[in-house]
Symmetry: C2
Subunit: 592 residues, 2 copies
């Protein structure tokens, strides 16, 4: 039905007769000539209908937005005055000779031009129209290019694409599973996988050596802008490779991806330990575009007569960190109050500050509610340590270390944006040497997951000091977002049992939940390691979209519903009987 895509017509086609199909993006009668912008997935082209071909012109006059039409015509150069350099096809136009309306369109239920006028609900309800917008279409086309690149890279590097089950057992990732009632085993349930973690480990035990899968994963969590009930992972696992080798290979993939699709050279990714990231940036996924850093000053404040400072400064779990914002002395009292409220979100009880109005004036040039508690020497050391200059402000977080990290880390990001400090477009890094465990009430919690191997210790050694053992895990971070994370896995049963034990998982529970893994570890399991990337988030970053919803064809709302299909919906009562389940809450009659 077509000779070319609309968006592909250019000067090389001058003088050719072409046949195009597509949608009416816009159609206007300007002084007795119809100008039609015809759109297909490759772009727009302008078609001109002159009144001398009366029959065709009459049809053209009836066109309305989003009619699906077939056009034949002659490619000709636009007059110089009408060349549109913003458009791929802006140097040419089609002189229309024929026109067939394939399918008319009713008036549209949402605005195509001013899509910001459409509510998110409307956009999802009429998703098939929303996806006609070039911006949306281009994102999904870009997404297809990314997956194609990734697959080719992995195929060419000896990775095997192997499918793992969607109907499976409750997985250990910790989030809430989606359940699927079984009909043959009434009263029992499958779970949708939060990741294929154990299956990919089993594939290594089977000897497949290098596995990948671009795979749907599921979490029944309350949703945020970058969370969806189903999301897509680039899931990777390898045998006989060290963490260094896995990082090298996947970094190579990511560099290639950015080079190929965005013409961006990411360069070699720096490595940073978890400890350093927390110390300098208050985050395990630091945005390195932001030059602000936290500076520890507890050692200077141990003896000051100010409980807000000396408490945390003398607490082994406490921390006092300074954040210098260049030119920040310009902040108003109101703005400082807003920052104080902001850190309150993260549990900080206050925000001490110090404006350096004029360093030449010595202590008199400094304005701060806490100045009275500090000696001139301490102030000088703080200024020197933070590299502060006249006109800057220094903000202080003092609390438990985790609260300081979270609150001041968040404030660092906010101030970086507010003061327009971000440098460079893409700043990747690896964060490594994560602790194996974090302390939680009642015991230890796995920082990654319970299959992560500790670095360089035996099971016996791990037991002696679990809280200070680092794991052989690694996260790839870009611009403050975690693109993916992984680890070397435990490959012997004794170590695995020890980790379960340290996590407070009872022997019986471990056997019930992970018995098959512990059993599998007995039969010559190879050393293995892997990584999973969040595909949606990668596409979101690469396309500059604001939400992962904008890089998915048919996402759910924040209440996990689909306004397009009206999913979820009520079930056939007979089917519930077959499944051996019943609904507790009576559905509202009017919703039926």
């Amino acid at each position: 039905m077509r000779s070319h895509y609309c968006g592909d017509i250019n000067k090389s086609h001058l003088g050719q007769e072409v046949t195009l199909v597509g949608w009416v993006n816009r159609s206007r009668d300007l002084g007795g000539v119809v100008f039609l912008d015809l759109r297909d997935r490759e772009g727009l082209v302008q078609v001109v209908y002159d009144p001398d071909l009366k029959d065709v012109f009459d049809v053209a006059s009836t066109l309305r937005a989003e009619f699906c039409v077939q056009v034949t015509g002659l490619v000709r150069a636009r007059p110089d005055s009408q060349v549109n350099s913003q458009m791929k096809t802006g140097e040419i136009e089609i002189l229309g000779k024929g026109l067939t309306i394939i399918n008319a369109s009713a008036p549209l239920p949402l605005s195509m031009d001013n899509y910001q006028n459409n509510s998110e609900e409307q956009r999802l309800k009429y998703r098939y129209l929303d996806l006609r917008r070039p911006e949306m279409a281009e994102r999904l086309i870009f997404r297809a290019k990314v997956t194609s690149y990734v697959r080719n890279f992995l195929d060419n590097n000896g990775f095997l694409d192997i499918e793992t089950p969607i109907l499976t057992k409750a997985t250990p990732e910790g989030a809430r599973d989606y359940l699927v009632p079984s009909r043959t085993y009434k009263g029992q349930f499958f779970a949708l996988p939060q990741s294929p973690q154990l299956f990919k480990q089993l594939l290594m035990m089977s000897g497949f050596d290098r596995y990948y899968q671009i795979v749907k994963c599921f979490r029944d969590e309350d949703l945020r802008a970058d969370r969806q009930p189903e999301f897509t992972q680039i899931d990777i696992e390898t045998s006989f490779m060290t963490s260094e080798q896995v990082m090298e290979k996947t970094e190579q993939m990511m560099r290639g991806l950015f080079q190929d699709l965005l013409n961006v050279d990411l360069g070699e990714f720096p490595r940073m330990t978890f400890a350093e990231a927390m110390r300098r940036f208050g985050s395990d996924k630091p945005d390195l575009r932001n030059p602000l850093e936290l500076v520890d000053v507890a050692d200077l404040l141990r003896d000051v007569e100010f409980a807000v400072f000396n408490g945390p400064a003398n607490d082994i779990d406490g921390r006092v960190a300074a954040l210098r914002i260049p030119t920040g002395a310009s902040l108003s009292r109101k703005q400082i109050d807003d920052y104080t409220k902001f850190v309150g979100i993260y549990g900080a009880k206050g925000l001490a500050w110090m404006k350096l109005n004029d360093l030449d004036a010595g202590i008199d040039g400094i304005q701060s509610p806490v100045l009275k508690f500090l000696t001139e020497d301490i102030v000088k050391q703080i200024i020197s340590r933070t590299d502060a200059q006249t006109g800057d402000i220094i903000l202080f977080g003092a609390d438990k270390a985790n609260i300081v990290a979270e609150a001041m880390g968040a404030l660092r990001l906010k101030a970086g944006e507010d003061f327009n400090l971000l440098q460079g477009q893409w700043r990747p890094l690896w964060v490594v040497d994560f602790p194996m465990f974090e302390k939680v009430e009642g015991g230890l919690h796995a920082v990654h997951h319970p299959f992560t191997a500790p670095r360089g210790v035996s099971a016996e050694e791990l037991k002696l000091d679990p809280a200070n053992t680092v794991s052989d895990a690694y996260d790839m971070v870009l611009n403050g977002c975690e693109l993916g994370g992984g680890s070397v896995r435990i490959h012997n049963a004794e170590m695995q049992s020890t980790v379960f034990e340290l996590l407070g998982i009872e022997k019986e529970e471990a056997k019930e939940k992970f018995g098959f893994l512990l059993e599998a570890l007995r039969y010559g399991t190879p050393p293995h390691a892997g990584l999973a990337f969040g595909l949606d988030r990668i596409i979101m970053l690469m396309t500059g979209a604001n939400s992962i919803r904008d890089v998915m064809a048919f996402p759910k709302t924040t209440t996990a519903a689909c306004p397009l299909t009206n999913a979820p919906g009520f079930a056939n009562p007979q089917q519930l009987v077959e499944l051996g389940i019943s609904v507790i809450e009576k559905p509202k009659a009017d919703a039926e």
Copy 2:
């Protein structure tokens, strides 16, 4: 940890020192020398440990099956007498210099050598060991090659890989859906998709023009050898293409796949109408390797004095078909009785037969219980029409046409196998011109699905004679298996409403179930067509596996359970409360 894969070592490496990792496939001490067959995913290699390196030899002596080990050694040629031409690496061996046991293995719970001794349940429970068998590993490696080929083909032909939701609304394919309870909308359920049919149509309405996805689909059906609760489709949809163009493109893909991976030229696929396929083969997926054909003889039998024949012969819905089996006169009475029982499975009430012991002897050379009802002329005409020869048997099916087709079609396949008649290895074809509807009790049923377009009629014309309208659908068939099927879809709302009406779907029900589709059809929907291939079945055929279970990494049993992970399992009662559902049948205490 390795310099090469085991299976990749060959004469080009002679004299090189290599490092290998893998599993002990077999290890024997033969006359004071340890012969180790080391296995990785690429194959086996023989490693020889001489006693002169005592330390290493002592370790080698302790090896048992499925230990995971690292080997270093020197590649050398095998003595001529020991060259094994069956093995990829059969010309060389490794003289072992080093050996590290990476991970020992407990005695195996199933036999690796005589896997037929393992029950299906055992094989699935220890799937990670079952998948170590080269036969199984090779199938999954082959599968990865197939998906890689298919993706590259489609990527290079302008198809976009776009993901569609797994948590969606009940789909209209007719099989039972898997349900997923919603937590935010208590009492309501998502359904897992039986196919992304409506989403891919919506993507065409969005203008994506060419879509594909290799995607999991779900059916909660009772299982057979070639059915699994979750299976994988190569799902394709295009806009502005005719059925011919879709067939051409997908046939090209399949030919390329067979050429590339099996070095088989499938040639151009013949086309056959549904009517011809049913007439000649009693099946809409005829196995063309089988030369036997059904021959209609009702016209000859209308006036015979034998109700079994003259009833169906005079019934407009009846059929009398003859099946000639060359050399079949050798069948014993017992064998004919078995065939009679066999057709009984398909509802046939009996099986008339005629043995042509000696055609030169005229009617006396023919042996048949029905001979007495037939004139010599009728017998001659039957013999002539079926091309029968001395020594053949002719079998007769006489009943309702659908029973004759099914029973005699099945018997044709069975006889083809029994008499070893199959010719050629690969016999693809397209079956086209399916009827739109089949008559069922109470009305009409869609032969494909309710979105299939009729061929060449308007909605008005369709209403006039729905039962005799053919659809614009097509199935790709290979060796008697449906590889895939598809159709041109309905692209206007009036036609779609008419088809729903003819299928007895009430307006309200149509609106409730397919309202979004009917709405979407109003906004300039393009003509579109597509197809879905059953990936598992394609792999099964190409690898010669007996079951789709053997081409999946982690399949379910025939009761839809996973003996490896013990899925499904009991749910956390608290989670059921959150979902607003309860289990009706009390789970057995001992199963908890």
